[in-house]
Amino acid sequence: MSATHDDHEPTEHAPGPVVLAVSKRHPRARTIQVVRPGMADTSFLAATAKGLGITLKHFARNLFLPMRKAAARSKAGAPTDVSWRNEIETVQYPEEKVTYPERFRGLHRLMLRDDGAVRCVACMCCPTVCPAHCITIIPEESDNPGIEKRPAVFEIDELRCVVCGLCVEACPCDAIRMDTGDHARPVEDRANAIETKATMMERGIRSIARQGGEGPNWRAHDHGSPSGDDEH
């Protein structure tokens, strides 16, 4: 509290209460005029009528005007003026879906090499960093003499996953991603909530990223060419 508060007087800019009397011994103790709501306010009639008008306006508008989202869904070039349409915001979920942001973390997928093999080298970074301990990897020896290991088993329990994305951050090979834009699907059996290597590879695509440590710096090259690390 600053000292200016003590001698504060009502001004035009900040109209305060009407002061009826000021105490001589304690100048801050003042008698102010109290405005109590009258019968017109306590009977709630005016406020009720106003409120009913607002809700009735929304009700009538949403009942009689066509859907706003129908205009948005229609083909390009449709009139963008939606002022004469209703205000319903509901998304009819299974039929309609909102577009998630680009960086939405969804269901996992395993990325592929050019030959379709899994990119993962079973380095165990992701199960190590996973705070929910939902990733299980059992490594095995790779057929490719240039690659040491690959996962024999790669399972993620989507019921335990907290969708933090640390596995994606930890991966040195761009092998695991969460950019599918999809949710973990509802299941009737807990066992069905476990994503296996096969199901996650089904969603995978070939990555253009160079595998860590091999060849020249991939950032120096053309980003658009989908060339794998095996070419170098």
């Binding site: 019968m39 306590t42 009977s43 009913l52 319903i88 915001e89 509901t90």
Partner: protein, 399 residues
């Protein structure tokens, strides 16, 4: 034919007709309409998914799904409840609101022998008991002189349902809900009854059928909207509507329920027993709408539709029984009766929608605000309304 008319004219048949054709479908639909309408008012869609195969009907079938769910739920009775009263309470809540419909004139009197012709209104007015009009089906179960008093008496019984449910549940919150319910009912019944006394003074009758048939004054046709009591008793109408909404125990007067506070007197109920309370609440909405439509909005009267057809302006010459002046469109009796039935239904549905609108617009009153409104505003205003009405009647009508 006479037997058929006698059967159709019996109170039991009429009660079944009212309950099965008017009340139950409307109350069931209201459970869906309330959720759907509240959603629309809040820029949502509301329940629109229940379907039988491809038949969706905008989700109307949700009330079927709800009813099936409630019927097949476990009939759970908590330990320590008073089993007899616990079972009795939902019935006490539901039965009175169904019985109360006995006084509602839900349609015009039908004269089966005149269905194909236009009835001579002058003839009917002069000799209502003559042989030509002896066979009549009155669309009102009990035409009793103290009809509106009967309504207050019966709906007071419905209050016992909530109070006994709260007592029998062996639950503090339920008991609080029951107490709140009874205190609210007692407070608002006073104002509600006195609000209708103005209508009694204007029409000189407490019989709803007579109020509908004669209107406020004999100088105009009862079908003239300006002869309906909303114009003659505007204050009485607002007061009665307010008190009647309080009587249904719905927002903004839902302190007996008060979901965030005490859940209410039916907190221990589940399944179809709870469903009976729920249904009773919605039937009460339909009933309040029926009473308001009957007393204040001309009941089954269609604007400007007399017993022999539409008549705007003009009058009937008593000597020749011919309309003089005005615009007249004669209609056969069956069409007139059908239009009047539909008018009553439309008025009731519209008033139900208005009640839902109020319920989803206003927040709940505090208990003290509720009592202040009831005792300090509605009661004095309704008393003043009676005085002013009586004075005006004495000065301008001299009786």
């Amino acid at each position: 034919m006479d037997i058929l008319i006698a059967i159709l004219d019996s109170a039991a048949v009429k009660w079944l007709f009212v309950v099965l054709v008017l009340v139950m479908p409307l109350a069931s639909l209201l459970t869906w309409a309330e959720r759907r309408q509240s959603a629309m008012m809040q820029d949502r869609l509301g329940p629109n998914r229940a379907n039988i195969g491809p038949i969706k009907l905008k989700g109307i079938l949700h009330f079927v799904a709800d009813a099936l769910k409630m019927i097949f739920k476990e009939d759970f009775i908590p330990a320590n409840v008073h089993k007899g009263l616990f079972a009795l309470a939902p019935i006490l809540a539901l039965a009175p609101v169904l019985i109360a419909f006995a006084i509602i004139p839900f349609g015009p009197t039908i004269y089966p022998h005149h269905l194909r012709t236009a009835i001579d209104p002058f003839e009917l007015a002069q000799n209502p008991g003559s042989a030509a009009f002896a066979d009549a089906i009155r669309m009102q179960m009990f035409s009793i002189d103290f009809g509106l008093i009967y309504y207050f008496a019966v709906l007071t019984l419905a209050n016992y349902g909530g109070t006994i449910a709260g007592w029998a549940s062996y639950n503090k919150w339920a008991l609080l809900g029951g107490l709140r319910s009874s205190s609210q009912m007692m407070s608002y019944e006073v104002a509600m009854g006195l609000a209708l006394m103005g209508a009694f003074l204007v029409t000189g009758s407490l019989e709803p059928g007579a109020i509908v048939a004669h209107g406020a004054t004999a100088s105009m046709s009862a079908a003239n909207p300006f002869n309906w009591l909303w114009l003659w008793q505007p204050v009485g109408f607002v007061l009665f509507f307010t008190a009647a909404i309080a009587e249904t125990k719905r927002a903004p007067f839902d302190i007996p329920e008060g979901e965030p506070e005490i859940i209410g007197y039916f907190v221990e109920y589940s399944g179809i027993r709870w469903g009976m309370f729920f249904l009773a609440e919605f039937i009460e909405i339909v009933f309040i709408s029926s009473v308001i439509a009957t007393v204040f909005f001309g009941g089954w009267q269609v604007p400007f539709l007399d017993v022999d057809g539409f008549r705007i302006g003009g009058f009937i010459d008593p000597a020749t029984h011919v309309s003089v002046g005005g615009w007249v469109a004669p209609l056969p009796h069956w069409l007139v009766a059908l239009l009047q039935f539909m008018a009553f239904g439309a008025k009731v549905v519209l008033l139900c929608v208005v009640q839902l609108l109020i319920r989803w617009t206003l927040p709940r009153f505090r208990a003290d605000q509720l009592m202040n409104l009831g005792w300090k505003l509605l009661l004095p205003l309704s008393l003043a309304n009676i005085m002013v009405t009586a004075l005006i009647k004495l000065i301008f009508m001299g009786s």
